[in-house]
């Protein structure tokens, strides 16, 4: 269960969301898109086109999908990717290639989208049918979403309930804007919401569904709007991977020379520890992202080289101050220089 904290204006988390879905299409996975804000048809029309030649990419994708589905025994794989896979790891060989590159200036061709089966859930179009599941005092919208998901999973055979189906496939689920007012949840509005447990119960049941089937899910939540921090802690505990995106738009960091090359920071709060004692921890935790015209890249945060002594003190102190926010040696280096400056 990939949990993404949205940045303030939702621009970049939307991109991540689209990448996840696009990757699913290129790999030949089935998709389930749920949103209360935008109609899923529109979301799908806006997916970036893969950079490779279409047929070549699809073949590779099929191979990759075939390899992956053999690995799955019964439980799903939570795609807790450390450095967003669709963009990194550009090895040209066939099945070891993990992920694809995408071109943001082009839209994905409709034929490619039609090549997979996708399901959508647009809250405002869903009829308020009688759910044949116990509501558990959960928000009505969440209940309907869960029901739709469960129906898709069992009908599509993702949970192994249909032994006749030979070709196992993976279902990629994307849920956008969970916890926001559009889903009928008021945790973003008040400090003491009416039903504190709706979102966490929903996540627990979702987790159960994911564990039981061959699916991976990404959800985006406007975390900056949720007043009650206790809920965020509980949600973090219930997710396998938590990634936060902090964009620099409108904040003081936009003009900070430290960050001039980047558009925002990526905070990886938690990575999954599934089926083993250890998890795949990488060397650095400072990641930043930038949006070029065609590509969205996530890179290690590099400090620009420290300026020479002729620079005025003010900017040096600024650098040192903001460098304190970064972990590891970079901060120590800048502060040390300040002390040596008599």
């Amino acid at each position: 269960l990939v949990f993404t904290e949205e940045d303030k204006y939702g621009l970049y988390s939307n991109l991540l969301f689209k990448y996840f879905l696009a990757e699913g299409i290129v790999c030949g996975h089935d998709l389930f898109v749920a949103s209360a804000k935008e109609h899923p048809d529109n979301i799908l029309k806006e997916l970036p086109a893969p950079l490779l030649d279409d047929t070549c990419g699809k073949e590779l994708g099929d191979e990759a999908a075939a390899v992956k589905s053999e690995d799955f025994q019964d439980s799903m794989k939570i795609a807790w990717r450390y450095q967003n896979l669709p963009k990194m790891e550009a090895s040209p060989t066939s099945y070891t290639k993990f992920g694809h590159y995408y071109d943001l200036s082009k839209k994905m061709s409709p034929e490619l989208i039609q090549s997979i089966k996708w399901h959508s859930f647009y809250l405002h179009e869903e009829l308020s049918s009688q759910p044949n599941m116990k509501t558990c005092n959960m928000n009505g919208a969440y209940t309907r979403l869960l029901q739709s998901l469960q129906r898709t999973i069992s009908q599509g055979g993702f949970d192994g309930s249909d032994p006749q189906k030979k070709q196992k496939n993976v279902l990629r689920i994307g849920i956008q804007g969970l916890g926001s007012l559009l889903w009928g949840d008021d945790i973003c509005c008040s400090d003491t919401p009416e039903d504190v447990h709706s979102l966490t119960k929903f996540l627990y049941v979702l987790r159960g569904l994911l564990r039981k089937s061959l699916s991976a899910c990404i959800i985006t939540v406007p975390a900056h709007l949720i007043q009650n921090k206790a809920i965020m802690e509980r949600v973090t505990n219930l997710s396998d991977m938590v990634v936060g995106l902090e964009s620099f738009i409108g904040s003081e960091r936009e003009t900070n020379p430290l960050y001039k090359d980047y558009h925002g920071l990526v905070h990886v709060h938690q990575i999954p520890r599934l089926n083993s004692l250890i998890c795949d921890v990488s060397d650095t935790k400072d990641l930043a992202f930038r949006l070029k015209r065609k590509l969205f890249t996530i890179e290690r945060l590099h400090l620009p080289p420290d300026l020479s002594d002729t620079v005025s003190r003010a900017s040096k102190q600024d650098l040192a101050g903001s460098a304190k926010l970064l972990s590891s040696g970079c901060g120590a280096m800048a502060i040390g220089k300040k002390h040596l400056d008599f």
Binding site: L203, Y204, R207, A230, R234, L274
Partner: protein, 250 residues
């Protein structure tokens, strides 16, 4: 015998302790009731195999009673059959308005005092993890009551042990969780507290573990024994060492 051990983690994942206790008690031949709320059975199975214990075999022989919270929840929410009377779902508090965890306790008691368990060395209740119950709508009082009932049944009556994992953090804003954790700390015989390093992330030292033996509970006036080690988690093992003496440094 009859001990209540609290596993606590802050800023890191303490589930390696759960895996350890699970394989430890199974290897010792005890009857274990494992309430696994956060992960699926296969996750524990795969890790236990690396640690040398076969969970599937233990389950078939009856040595391990495994409650897979996620699966039970799905059965409860999407299940179409009516519950058989006399066998209510252990997670019934989710769907009903009763907020007590009585059904869960009944399940625990039934599984640990089943006939035939006298052959095993002593029942053990293992819970991973308790903080999830709060997320699912149980009140802190209900959770504490549940633990209390379990203690009476397992520790006093059956002379068994209880091991419970909770998450906590010093600057946590989750007051209900902190309430439960603090209360449990006061009642535990042994606390194993895994913390992420205060200085930040490190590749060779994954965290620090504080072992607190609550001697003060048994003898008034005595101080609790506190030992602190640092640890590094590997694929099949966890190595502990004194603070500052990590293998990477020496």
């Amino acid at each position: 015998q009859g001990k209540f051990t609290l596993l606590r983690d802050t800023r890191t994942d303490g589930s390696f302790l759960v895996h350890h206790f699970l394989s430890f008690y199974l290897r010792a031949g005890c009857k274990v009731c494992f309430v696994a709320l956060l992960q699926s059975f296969s996750h524990y199975n795969i890790v236990a195999q690396k640690l040398g214990v076969n969970l599937t075999a233990a389950k078939e022989q009856g040595q391990l009673v495994f409650l897979e919270g996620l699966k039970s929840c799905l059965d409860l929410v999407f299940g179409e059959e009516e519950e058989q009377p006399g066998q209510p779902s252990p997670l019934r508090f989710l769907s009903e308005s009763t907020s007590d965890l009585r059904a869960l306790f009944d399940f625990v008691r039934a599984s640990l005092s089943a006939p035939g368990s006298a052959a095993c060395k002593g029942p053990v209740l293992l819970v991973d993890d308790l903080s999830v119950l709060l997320s699912l709508g149980a009140t802190p009082v209900a959770v504490l009551d549940f633990i209390h009932y379990c203690r009476v049944c397992v520790c006093s009556q059956l002379q068994g042990n209880i091991v419970v994992l909770v998450h906590s953090s010093e600057d946590s804003e989750d007051e209900e969780n902190e309430l439960v954790v603090n209360s449990l700390c006061h009642h535990s015989d042994l606390i194993l507290w895994a913390e992420g390093l205060a200085t930040g992330f490190c590749k060779d030292v994954h965290g620090q573990i504080k072992i607190i033996q609550r001697v003060s509970l048994q003898q008034a006036g005595e101080q609790d024994l506190i030992q602190i080690y640092q640890y590094k988690i590997q694929d099949r093992n966890v190595t502990f060492f004194a603070r500052g003496l990590s293998a990477a440094v020496l």
